[in-house]
């Protein structure tokens, strides 16, 4: 049948006696070229226990990320104590979706504040004469983990750069939102009468990324705007887009938005133009 491995390659391809229940795959080493779950080996034709267990754990983390509620009170206390935070008030808001099952089935509810939150913001607005350039909406979205892990390191990088500019951004009190989706930022920005809103939201968790935070920016926010009016920066997390890179991109978009007085499809992110393709000139190894 198959040719024996030559001597020089024997050291690279371990031999697997067929008596073993698990047949390993010598091409498992190709995992250095991709995060795909290749070369898992097999028990009969099935996934070996070791890999089954690690898959189950990854799925469990992703599901927990979706269903674990945001600890907003703790987060608010923590944010209020940060030196970079321009306001000592952090507002706690809630969408129209009362709980997670409703949130998952009614995306329209997750885009609107509930009545209490609307009153709260209206009240707040009527007690102040501030002209806000920018409001931040910190939204649980589909992963509270993403917010809890990434919000402080990200904002502590970004906010000082905004407030120390020659033309400093006047930032509204931070808003922490439970059971929210991206578009709820427009509702908040509108009620605070802010020129711009930045939404920081827990993204839909992937199997290997349960903690990914997304950023959405709208100039002149008002309810009913579509995605075409937003700019997005995705995958902000320790193992993804770094806080300093994300902060750099955000600063770029905010500056452009303020200059052009717009956001969305007409505002292109040019910060990535220098990135080359990821091939590195490697040829397809399957072809001789």
């Amino acid at each position: 049948m198959s040719k024996e491995f030559s001597e020089e390659t024997q050291s690279n391809f371990p031999r697997h006696p067929i008596e073993d229940a698990v047949v390993e795959n010598p091409w498992e080493r190709l995992r250095s070229f991709t995060d795909a779950r290749i070369g898992l080996g097999r028990a009969g034709v099935s996934v070996p226990t070791k890999h089954l267990m690690s898959f189950q754990l990854a799925h469990a983390k992703a599901q927990d990320a979706v269903h674990t509620p945001l600890n907003s009170d703790e987060l608010i206390k923590h944010l209020e104590a940060q030196a970079w935070n321009p306001s000592n008030t952090v507002l706690k808001l809630h969408s129209k979706a009362s709980d997670r099952p409703e949130y998952l089935q009614r995306p329209d509810y997750g885009r609107m504040l509930d009545e209490r939150s609307v009153e709260q913001l209206t009240q707040y607005r009527s007690n102040t004469n501030e002209e806000y350039d920018l409001a931040f909406a910190i939204v649980d979205g589909l992963s509270a983990f993403a917010i809890e892990e990434n919000i402080t390191p990200f904002l502590s990088t970004l906010v000082p750069q905004l407030t120390s500019q020659a033309e400093p951004w006047n930032i509204a009190p931070l808003c922490v939102v439970e059971q929210g989706r991206v578009a709820i930022g427009d509702h908040i920005g509108e009620l605070l009468n802010a020129k711009c809103v930045v939404v920081l939201v827990g993204e839909r968790p992937g199997l290997s990324s349960p903690d990914s935070m997304g950023l959405y920016l709208t100039w002149a926010p008002k309810t009913g705007l579509t995605d075409a009016y937003r700019n997005c920066i995705s995958n902000i997390r320790m193992a993804g887009l770094s806080y300093s890179d994300a902060s750099y991109k955000t600063l770029y978009l905010l500056t452009e938005a303020r200059t052009k007085k717009l956001s969305g499809v007409n505002l292109k992110d040019r910060t990535g133009d220098e990135v080359l393709e990821h091939d590195g000139g490697v040829e397809n190894f399957l072809i001789s």
Binding site: N12, V23, V66, L286, I287
Partner: protein, 470 residues
């Protein structure tokens, strides 16, 4: 209280239920799912649903030719459905009601040959209607009798066979990463339906690069299969104009004109692409050159559903598919998320409905047996749906390393899952591909689907080139 006018009424004891029109009746008769609740068209409660099903069972099939859910003037898919309906094919079933149609489909009168004869007489709405009053086992049993065979470089859909799409996606389209997943899939005997990549960067240049890469592999190893880059149809037309070796043209399709407008194409675009791909004449055993994807919820998500329930919208997409004689159609059933299909139960039901309706209409339906992490579903639900679809004679499933799509961030069936289905249900790959698997010694033993314990010669050298030197 005002009295709305009801086209359909049903009285049970003291209580009368009314349904304004056929569209409302269809929606309320649909087994429960979150997308219809989101659209506000679902039955208010279980009793109303059961009554709607009872009422729908009494509707004559003929009525679906007169009483159009989306007006003829407003929608080119309605026009396609009506203009291409065959009275001759319809005549053997034209006297039936929806309920009578279910009985007939399950009866021995409906042999595979007869089911083939009536295809052109069945409209998507008739198929959707009867599916709504069928149990899961009915959907399986009848689908199994509907044989739909297509061909390009191999023959897909023969009874007793199950094919797989090898899906070697990579988040940056890295060629080495893609090749690694392709190798993994081929050595796990996957990839006879198509080797199909969802590109991370969606433009013509990238599509050409990936098409060429896959074409080279298929040529070098003489694999009787076909490749496809799942890019927008207009990109593929351009790629063909630029001389790219395009096997199959891909497009996501929906069941209303407005849905397809939102996808940026119409029937003319598909006709143009179909002609362009045929002109390349790259098939060896057949010339089915289109690959379509569908999925319940796409019309609602584009706000293009005309208050028609999501399963009926989905079935109307199969009229678009069958117009262009596709090699493969794939319902990506659990990808859209829990606002359309909430949990494992709803996903499984939808997968079986889509497969049944497509096969009844003569469409070569496969299924992306899948879920996202915010749906209430897991690997066990996927095992259930995979097994049920395997029994039902599903045309193909996806094959991906370890069920984890690192580009699209969802879970679908793995290379291993396909081998499970082969062993558990005795299902073979496409015959030409099966011969190749034996020839290159990927399969050691055809009857028991046993894989080679060693890396076969042909691939051993390639592997050596990459890691032998490290």
């Amino acid at each position: 209280m005002s009295t709305p006018s009801f086209q359909f009424r049903h009285t049970v004891g003291e209580k009368t239920f009314g349904f304004r029109d056929l569209k409302e009746l269809m929606a309320k008769a649909t087994p429960a799912r979150s997308g219809d609740r989101l659209a506000g068209v679902a039955a208010d409660n279980a009793e109303e649903r059961a009554i709607a099903q009872m009422t729908l069972a009494d509707v004559p099939l003929k009525q679906f030719l007169e009483d159009l859910l989306i007006p003829y003037e407003d929608d080119e898919i309605t026009r396609l459905i009506i203009d291409e309906h065959s009275k001759e094919a319809f005549s053997p079933i034209s006297h039936l009601t929806v309920g009578g149609f279910r009985d007939w489909l399950l009866s021995d009168l409906a042999s595979p040959a007869v089911l083939k004869q009536i295809r052109a007489g069945v409209t998507p709405e008739m198929a959707a209607a009867v599916s709504k009053i069928m149990r899961n086992q009915d959907l399986i049993l009848v689908a199994k009798k509907c044989h739909v065979t297509t061909a390009f470089r191999n023959t897909i859909g023969l009874p007793g066979h199950l094919s797989t799409r090898l899906q070697p996606n990579h988040p940056t389209d890295d060629l080495t990463g893609i090749a690694a997943s392709m190798l993994d899939g081929l050595l796990y005997a996957n990839g006879d339906a198509v080797i199909g990549i969802n590109p991370a960067t969606d433009n013509v240049a990238q599509a050409c690069r990936l098409i060429k890469m896959m074409g080279d592999v298929i040529d070098q190893y003489e694999i009787p299969t076909q490749s496809c880059v799942l890019t927008h149809v207009t990109n593929t037309i351009e790629a063909i104009e630029q001389g790219a070796p395009v096997d199959l043209v891909f497009q996501s399709i929906g069941g209303t004109q407005a849905t397809n407008d939102s996808f940026g194409f119409n029937l003319n675009t598909l006709a143009e692409a179909h002609d362009a791909a045929l002109s390349l004449n790259r098939g060896t055993v057949g010339n089915n050159v289109m690959y379509f994807e569908t999925g319940q919820g796409s019309s609602l998500s584009a706000n293009a559903h005309h208050n028609v329930d999501q399963q009926t919208c989905e079935t109307r997409a199969y009229a678009v598919a069958r117009k262009f004689n596709p090699l493969l159609v794939n319902t990506v059933v659990g990808f859209i998320g829990p606002e359309y299909l909430y949990d494992g139960k709803e996903i499984i039901r939808a997968g079986l409905e889509d497969h049944f309706c497509a096969k009844l209409l003569g469409v070569p339906m496969g299924c992306d047996v899948c879920y996202t992490n915010h749906a209430d579903a897991d690997q066990n639900d996927m095992d259930n749906l995979l097994t049920l679809l395997g029994v039902a004679g599903c045309t193909f499933i996806m094959g991906i390393p370890g069920s984890d799509d690192i580009m699209l961030n969802y879970q679908t069936t793995s290379f291993h899952d396909a081998l499970y289905a082969r062993r558990a249900l005795g299902l073979k790959p496409a015959p030409e591909f099966n011969e190749w698997l034996k020839k290159v010694e990927i399969f050691q033993n055809n009857d028991h689907f046993t894989l080679n314990h060693q890396v076969p010669d042909a691939f051993h050298q390639s592997l050596n080139r990459l890691i032998g030197r490290h």
